[in-house]
């Protein structure tokens, strides 16, 4: 299905002409409005992917080598959590934590499908046990505690498993005095777990209090596309240094909710990383190619503090 659509576009380009370009532009903008500008680069499905920003066709193999960044326009396409770990962690140094933790249907929640069915389907489809991978590894020679959220698993929603895994990671980092890096990508709290998901926000913030304030250790949060809801309102915005990827969508209330509340159209780029940067809510915007280097330099700067007597 994907191949045929791509072929159709390629044919159009071959024939060229203003009409073709105009139609392509029209279809592309309607597609982006529906799909919220997300494109999953699925290496299993095809050899070609399409950049959402510039419409350029990208050969998947080269795209992966370029860390899922479009060569033409620099747009950061979505990246799976495994790829992110490989991006940041030195080879042969990764030790995962809590790999076999999975969600429990504590409320016996059932909308169109039961929660249990949804979990199994997502696990099957994405090859992930839940929406976060945690572990420790070396980043350019410094041991760090790393947690990476993945938007592909149920929209990156934060439930008990995400809360528990991240809490345990932070407790481990507190004991071993490791710097902490959390890469956030989430659609919000997992509604199927009700108020339990809400309390995960408090749980993670409580261990961050012990980690950051009482033990004075370094926590860097990296916000990627998209970071919304409960994650923004808890550990996403609590980093000592907050880094965002270019054009990441970072929000507390989603666009639709704001439009419904205010009954007016929201300007484009309102909740983009660049806009938050201008409003003083972020420290840095770092492109993916530089991320590993920047994190390593930052931890180097913090390690060479001369007056650590407090």
């Amino acid at each position: 299905m994907v191949m045929s659509v791509i072929n159709w576009f390629e044919d159009r380009q071959k024939f060229g002409g203003l009409i073709g370009a105009f139609l392509e532009e029209a279809t592309r903008s309607s597609m982006t409005n529906e799909r919220d500008r997300r494109i999953s680069v699925n290496a299993n499905k095809g050899l070609w992917a399409r950049c959402d920003n510039c419409g350029n066709m990208l050969y998947v193999k080269f795209l992966k080598q370029n860390r899922s960044v479009c060569e033409e326009c620099g747009y950061h396409l979505s990246m799976s959590s495994m790829e992110r770990i490989e991006l940041l962690i030195d080879p042969n140094t990764w030790i995962p934590l809590d790999e076999d933790m999975s969600a429990r249907d504590i409320l016996s929640f059932s909308d169109e499908d039961s929660y249990e069915t949804r979990i199994l389907l997502s696990q099957e489809k994405t090859g992930l046990t839940d929406a976060v991978q945690t572990g420790i590894g070396y980043l350019n020679g410094t041991l760090i505690a790393l947690g990476v959220m993945d938007f592909h698993f149920m929209g990156g929603s934060m439930g008990s498993v995400v809360g528990e895994k991240i809490t345990r990671l932070i407790e481990y980092a507190t004991q071993r005095l490791l710097p902490l890096v959390l890469i956030c990508a989430s659609g919000g709290a997992r509604m199927q777990e009700g108020t339990l998901s809400l309390m995960q926000m408090a749980k993670i913030s409580s261990v961050l209090q012990l980690y950051q304030v009482q033990n004075k250790l370094l926590y860097i949060s990296v916000l990627t596309y998209p970071t919304t809801g409960g994650v923004t309102a808890s550990f996403g915005m609590l980093g000592d240094i907050i880094i965002a990827e270019p054009k990441a969508y970072i929000a507390f209330a989603g666009k639709r909710v704001i439009e419904q509340t205010l009954r007016q159209k929201i300007p484009d780029g309102f909740q983009a990383a660049e806009s938050l940067f201008d409003n003083g809510l972020l420290d840095l915007i770092v492109p993916r190619n530089l991320l590993k280097g920047v994190l390593s330099e930052i931890s180097g700067l913090y390690l060479s503090v001369p007056y650590n007597k407090n």
Binding site: S81, M82, N92, W94, P96, E99, D100, S102, A103, R104, L107, D111, E124, T126, G127, L128, T129, Q133, Y138, G141, T142, L143, S160, V161, T167, L177, A189, M191, Q192, E193, G194, T195, L196, L198, M199, Q200, A202, K203, S205, S206, Q209, L210, Q212, V213, Q214, K216, G230, T232, A233, S234, F235, L238, A251, F252, A253, V257, I258, I266, F270, S275
Partner: protein, 476 residues
């Protein structure tokens, strides 16, 4: 001249003495000087008594009085002070604090609003009313029927309110006449002083803070404030705080810690405000900071959910040592309407979402989130606000007595522990490798202890014991 003196504009040369004489039709000299002193005057040199002999002349003066009304200056609207312009004699005998509170009782009591599930009660009430009217007009005795109907009313009411479903409890929690935070606080406290502002440019009306005295002890009260009628609701933004409100709450909580006030928070909000300015000012960051800082406050914190508890907006003042909920209040992660729209794809599925999300007090006690349910009087809190407030006060003071005995360090550990155990996961069994195919497996060699030792910086390793055993230091 009967014109009021302030509106008459007299020439500047007229002295005040003559101004007072103007009411009498004396002839004034051209120069407007006094009667006796002016040499040109025919009365000059003669005493005033002599002057009386002359008939008063017709009022023909050279003086033109311009009775100009001052141009009415457009008054800037006066700041509405909560104290009266004139104090009555007995006002200043007692405490002056009530004069500082803008939260006065409503001029007219609120109209009773029956909820959909209370329709049978409404019917019975109407029948009772009709019978009373006929009794009044005809004079016949209907007391037997009346008492029968009254009994039936009470019974139906008891049955209804003892078995409320989650959807019905949600509608009671959202009832327009439900007592608000300030209603409860003013009922519970002997003295109350509301404090304002986040010291950074704003004073959010949706979140009220202040100091109150209850049972001889002073507490810091913080809570979401809904309005009691539409006008107040608009002023209070329907209890949806902006980042400014959360920063105000944080300032008050840190102030309370510094001085030793235990903190009592009251949650009653549909959620944090979703607006453009709220986002620009960092709504997420304000909530996150509150969450983190509350776990470092070295004073007891008790949270009472008195209405709706809306997600992060409620949790930002709800990280507590003890969580109490009124019987008919709710605490949800996403409003049932939003949940229905996302998961069921239609807002009409809100009742199903309400049932599925398990948002009522009884269900949350089972999940170990809520410590105690505070009973409401029959008919809901709106039918008897005073009793509800007294119930809340009793519950709070009961828990506070235990918390006040704890040392700060153990208080903090207890608070972290309360939230640490919330959540339920499945682990211990090896999962199907298919479900882990996109998770990066371990690729570090297996002598991990050496590797860890190698890279911990030396100064950290030297101070290892000191930093690990550092008990909670004051939050920086």
């Amino acid at each position: 001249m009967q014109i009021a003196m302030e509106s008459a504009v007299l020439p500047a040369s007229v002295s005040s003495a003559e101004q007072s004489l103007c009411s009498v039709p004396w002839r004034l000299s051209k120069h407007g000087s006094s009667l006796q002193r002016n040499g040109n005057n025919m009365l000059a040199g003669q005493g005033l008594m002599q002057a009386w002999k002359f008939k008063p002349e017709k009022r023909r003066t050279n003086m033109h009085v311009h009775a100009m009304l001052k141009k009415s200056r457009r008054k800037t609207p006066d700041f509405e002070y909560p104290w009266p312009v004139k104090f009555k004699p007995g006002d200043l005998d007692g405490s002056p604090l009530p004069f500082l509170s803008r939260f006065k009782p409503l001029p007219t009591p609120p109209k009773p609003v029956p909820l959909p599930f209370e329709l049978p009660l409404v019917h019975i009430q109407k029948k009772i009313q009709e019978i009373r009217e006929t009794a009044n007009t005809t004079g016949m005795d209907f007391s037997e029927q009346l008492s029968e109907l009254q009994e039936k009313y009470d019974e139906v009411r008891k049955d209804l309110y003892n078995q409320l479903s989650p959807v019905q409890r949600l509608s009671v929690a959202r009832h327009p006449n439900r007592p608000t935070c300030l209603d409860h606080v003013l009922n519970m406290t002997d003295k109350w002083l509301e404090l304002h502002g986040d010291r950074a440019g704003f004073d959010d009306p949706a979140l009220v803070t202040g100091i109150g005295k209850m049972d001889g002890m002073s507490f810091m009260f913080i809570g979401h404030q809904k309005g009691r009628n539409t006008k107040e609701n608009i002023h209070r933004n329907f209890a949806m705080p902006t980042p400014n409100g959360y920063r105000k709450a944080l300032r008050m909580m840190q102030h309370a810690e510094r001085h030793g006030f235990p903190i009592l928070t009251f949650v009653d909000t549909p959620g944090a405000y979703a607006g453009i300015q709220a986002e620009e000012r960092g709504q997420g960051e304000a909530i996150a900071r509150n969450l983190r800082e509350m776990f470092g406050l070295r004073v007891p914190i008790i949270t009472t959910v008195i209405g709706e508890g809306g997600s992060g907006g409620a949790l930002a003042i709800g990280c507590c040592d003890k969580m109490l909920m009124l019987e008919n209040s709710v605490y949800y992660v996403a409003s049932p309407e939003a949940c229905a729209a996302i998961l069921w794809k239609t807002a009409a599925a809100a009742p199903q979402a309400t049932e599925a999300l398990k948002i009522t007090a009884h269900e949350l006690v089972k999940l170990d989130i809520v410590d105690q349910i505070i009973p409401e009087p029959l008919g809901g809190a709106h039918s008897d606000p005073l009793t509800t407030s007294m119930n809340i006060k009793e519950a709070i003071l009961g828990h506070m007595r235990d918390l006040l005995k704890m040392e700060p360090d153990s208080l903090l550990k207890h608070r972290v522990g309360k939230f640490r155990k919330i959540g339920s996961v499945r682990e211990g069994e090896q999962l199907d490798p298919r479900f882990k195919r996109n998770m990066k497996p371990r690729d570090a060699p297996f002598n991990e202890s050496d590797q860890h030792q190698l890279q911990i910086p030396s100064f950290v390793r030297e101070n290892l014991e000191r930093t690990l055993t550092t008990a909670s230091t004051p939050a920086s």
